[in-house]
Symmetry: D2
Subunit: 436 residues, 4 copies
């Protein structure tokens, strides 16, 4: 952290409706994270949103009385130069692309989801080359910076960065912090009294230890059939005898894998009843931006909380604080495996508890990995590895291997048709797949 | 091999219609495998078949002029005592159980197959305790004997024996030898000019090297979309662009995983059109036994070849010969992993090329393991480990975990219903699951 | 920690001259470690010392005004029953045995040292069976207790406990905390601003990362040829070009391995000049006990600090505090390897940074293991494994293998003679080796 | 093997006195190894010897009546072009350098040996860069050729080639074949009835299985205290209780490690009594060359057998035959570890049983690795890795690390002095260490 006048922080995709969350966090924890410059960066097409949210950010800072300079720019390189922390939150192809990711698979009887399955794969193919491009700039202009990657599929994007660049990157998700908060509330203890062990990948983890004040609460958690469920995933109760013998509390994303039939039926019905979910999200966003435009608004509006990204800001600010101060506390992050999950390659990205030192996260060894979960972790990682390689090469055969080997895709035949249709639908965002 | 007067060989399930195949092999290779006693063992319920096939065996030996004594018995312990080689080929629950294994899953839209999926799992639950029981006798009465296990699911049964007994056991399948034969014919070379590397599990392998006279023929094999197909699996052509980028020639059983939809449709149609396949097999067997009863028949009848078990005899006799003589030749066998597939446990049973020394098979390291195949291997092995543990404990929760985690089973919901119905249907053969 | 009235702590070898150190720590940190009962245990032969030091302990507690009950006993089982923490500090054979450990090898031109080489091996052979015996009591009477083992050779003793008992044991040494203190002083920073990565075994580690406020100070440390040297090891300067390319700051015990000739010469000269060091230590102890007898003394005497065991108390109390409170801080401990040093077995005991959770230490992965250090670590661990097995079996052949394979022993010939003489000299303490 | 007119074989260091051995083998096995061209290559300084031995080779071929063309050349590139097999047998610095390798260490009380210890290290430093240079030519001119490396230290040279080039190289030693021959003679069985498992490195192996006709003869071998001893190593009997509990028959080179004192005394005495052994060898060679000059000599002279290189020719010709014909037989070779010894890196060169396929050797997994041997293997491999890196970089610090970490070198102090003197003595052959 060379900048002794304070930190330079860059938010790529700064025009996102989530940005006020982040800004609020930066203000609240300024004593521990002395930011001097905050750069919000976006692309030309997002300039209007950038200005709207950026001006709200400026008003929030002004109200706080802190001396943070807020910059709004489309000049990514200028923003990155000399940065201490860079965070990314972007959506290549915007909500329209998400809409296609979620609906095209449904036509083939396949789960339509924005971070896993064929939908998540398309998001990875669109996003990875853009992120790698940003990383080239970071390597040149801020080689010591930490890149906090929130961009989904966060595990795959982080793995691509780890494999193809020298950027110091960490993938982040709000699910782990959400679980801790819930347990903290349920048992009425401070979060630092809880030790929860996460095993698996981003959006594909099992929590195999839940110690509250040193006491094992896992059996209790596994007898709770409603389980831990985020609001953005349809409620489907777990089969009690399955849950109790699973060996770990499943991530809510695992319902796509373990209850594929019910989840698919629900998605198909939702689409018929409510239309494309991406359209709904679009409306929520439009309303938020309308609020943000109010020149008298100088704090994060309540409505943002309903948006679904709870704890994103907390996760990001916590990590920056710990890296900056070398607090050696434990956080659940997406980092290189390096032997932690002994059946995956060293350079696979996994979601795992880490001690956050000043020189980066050190993953903690896993004390229990139930037999049950190994095959599915490996099956999904196989898909991820193939899809990442397809994303950086534009190789259609690899893309077909990736999609066929995804556990949610039922056959080569379906994979082949889905792939052709989805690649075509994303043509504008997949230059590597449509070279002449 | 203590018996210097010649070898004692025991065939458990000796009343099988395949036995004349084996006997023919023993006669043909007597010079290299000097058998003195051949014991055919079966259960009371199979006594009639044992006598029928056993008397044919006696006539075949008589015709050969060799001094082999053939014994027919239901006294398993007497047969095992002091044996040098024991082979098993049994079907707990007989063809009726197979019929149920193949048809019940179809009602739930799941593949019905006798060695994999829910059907194969039921076969494992029925068979493993019986085999372990036999192994207790071998440990006591013939601790130095080699047990050649043909009983399906051969990989799972062998893994159970490796984990729970001290018997020297090797699992065997006719598929690898069949592949070598086909390549030998296609390129007009002797089998010993071919090096084919098998990666994976029993009935779940990919052939990742096909060297003919030292030349790499893999690309050629991967461009053959009809692929290598045994007669007992419906013909479904491979997608050419999938096949060429898969990295290995897939076992024909992989069609159940890669073309689940088409294979399922075919099974459902077959059932409607031709009825239960087990019934058809039953008719074929009945006809064979009618032939065997002919007191003038003293050789293996031609009709047996159509039965589908080509090369079983050759595989068994080859292995016995090599163990007996310590020939150090290479055979593809089912043995303990011990680090060969680096992401599976040491005690997992895998299908792999081995050098057959006098003291048993030494597996050869794999030179290529395509990323593509890792996830599926691990997913199926996860199911296998759970199912084996369920089989030896009679634990229904474990059985549910096993069935749910099988890649051919679409959800906990389906697994739960299928499990209950199939356990009930097999009640007579699953004492551990129906204890009071 | 079931005891809500406060903790029960047991010190086995409570009559040690170090005990006042421990008691002082317990008093100082009582707020974080609410001790209710302190049991000092010793054997009959040590009863006088136990009473002397125990009465001092009682006076110290009284002076503090805390309500801690101090018990002095030779009834080990009564002491252990229901304990929360047990620490051991014992010397089987007392200082006389140490004298022999340090002097007999010198006759053969071999390093005489109390924790490594032939001397350390004898200490291990004497001590391990006694510790395992204590562990049987703990398994029965306090199965949830944590055993903090300071008894040298601490790594080997802890490995024996991990391998042969179910006791939750952690090995401890004061060297790591001493290094941190020194760096803290040198750079004038708080200890929690330092991240030092320890690689290796107890008394055989290299420090491969020294981050002070996140800055890499390793090159600076490796250019300091006088290095870090404890007062109880003769000063021998490191060769500067060797040190700078070694990849880690060597433990001072490594001088026995890297400067064997000079260290041996020094030991031989010392013996001639000053006599047996154990005798000197004995005198220091006698003087300490004379001080302890003073009924007006009610605090730790200054003279104890010169004794050489600096930081022992701090290490012990820190660890108990962190286990009790689940502070998740980082401490350097001796625990089971479980994959951290990838070339050693999972059940080897290593010295490594750990996060101390309420349920025990989780070792942190190593970020750098220089090629240079691997062979020596493995060579010493090989000796340790063989010696531990010899200690629990009393097998002389294993003992010979252990001694011959110790890197400080030059040949089978020397090992054989040394072993015979040293076993005989320790006959009274090695019942397993002298059975009829 | 593209050359359908017959094979082109190149012997680098063709002027060696061993060459007639090789030529005799080529003639004897011509039916299985149809050589068409034999190129003997040497450097200018060796031209006279090349012509002498080369003309003998021509007379031997002529006598055989085979149509093999023998070429004598100093044009290495011309020789290599299009070669099928290349073997190397060279001595950079000739016998004079060997003399220094063997005698300088003795002055410091360190073993002087041409393939291990400081002497072997100097040989490695001189040799590796020359071999890598040859490999550049092979990569360009004969990329499909097999390089059989006999040049000592064969394990280290082969590891350097595996790490720094793409040449298909195999290291070879005559010790394993010698052991098999001895067992074959002792038990009066054919070599193919013996399975001996070699564990370790070149000149540092233990034989942990000796099966003769499937029977375990290891205990018998371990009770033979005179052991297996080659004529070029002084006879020192093994300690019987050490040998019987070692877990494997030690290579005779292990006497340098296990009986360092006696071996050193013997070397020092020999030097005083007989003078430099390299001088003796030189005389033997001179006499051989005098014989070779005889224009009437057209077969290998009996005297060559006394020279000490028994079975070199057999080892080389066996390997070429098996590679050419793809015989899948088992030979003990020096190849990349790739997981076989689980504590060494994948790219370490080990000595191990291999199945020799047409596409190269496949190492066989080890069935027993005694704890005893692990530390020493790792310690020596650590030295080897460091020395190889020193050889290719000319880095003196690395060279000091390598020498200090060699188990035969007693301290940094000795290593430092020895290194300086030996580097200086080899200045002419170490351009990388003496750059300006």
């Amino acid at each position: 952290m060379p900048n002794n006048k304070g930190l330079k922080i860059v938010v790529i995709g700064g025009g996102s409706s989530y940005t006020p969350e982040l800004v609020e966090g930066f203000i609240r924890f300024h004593a521990e994270l002395p930011i001097r410059e905050l750069w919000l960066v976006d692309i030309e097409a997002g300039l209007h949103k950038l200005n709207t949210v950026g001006n709200l950010a400026k008003r929030m800072v002004e109200r706080s009385g802190l001396s943070i300079d807020v910059y709004l720019t489309t000049d990514r390189r200028k923003a990155i130069e000399g940065a201490d922390f860079i965070s990314t939150q972007m959506r290549v192809g915007m909500l329209e692309a998400r809409g296609r990711d979620e609906t095209i698979p449904l036509k083939y009887g396949v789960i339509g989801q924005e971070t896993t399955g064929p939908g998540g794969m398309m998001k990875a193919l669109r996003t990875i080359p853009v992120l790698l491009d940003i990383c080239r700039d970071i390597e040149e202009l801020a080689p010591e910076a930490w890149l906090l990657n929130f961009t989904n599929p966060a595990g795959m994007v982080t793995e691509a960065i780890l494999k193809y660049t020298n950027v110091r990157s960490i993938g982040l998700c709000n699910a782990p912090i959400g679980f801790i908060k819930q347990i903290s509330k349920q048992y009425e203890v401070e979060p630092d009294r809880i030790y929860a062990e996460f095993v698996g990948l981003n959006h594909l983890h099992w929590i195999t230890r839940v110690d509250v004040n040193g006491e094992d609460k896992l059996p209790e958690q596994l007898s709770d059939k409603d389980g831990f469920t985020a609001s953005n995933v349809p409620q489907q109760a777990w089969d009690p005898r399955f849950l109790r013998s699973l060996g770990g509390v499943p991530s809510y994303y695992l319902k796509y894998f373990y209850m594929t039939d019910a989840m698919l039926a629900d998605q198909q019905q939702s689409l018929l009843r409510d239309g494309n979910r991406a359209v709904v999200v679009k409306q929520v966003e439009d309303e938020l931006f309308k609020l943000y435009e109010d020149p008298d608004l100088n704090e994060k509006p309540k409505q943002l909380e309903k948006r679904g990204g709870a704890f994103y800001s907390e996760a990001a600010v916590n990590l920056m604080k710990s890296l900056y101060n070398g607090t050696n506390d434990i956080q659940t992050l997406n980092v290189a495996n390096r032997g932690i999950i002994d059946f995956l390659p060293d350079n696979a990205c996994i979601e795992v508890n880490c001690v956050v030192t000043k020189n980066g996260p050190l993953p903690l060894p896993l004390t229990k990995v139930p037999t049950q979960v190994k095959g599915l972790i490996h099956a999904v990682k196989t898909y991820e590895q193939l899809a990442i390689e397809a994303a950086v090469t534009g190789n259609r055969d690899l893309a077909l291997q990736a999609m066929t080997h995804h556990p949610l895709v039922p056959s080569v035949h379906v994979a082949s048709q889905l792939l052709d249709e989805m690649l075509e639908a994303n043509r504008a965002y997949l230059p590597l797949f449509f070279q002449d």
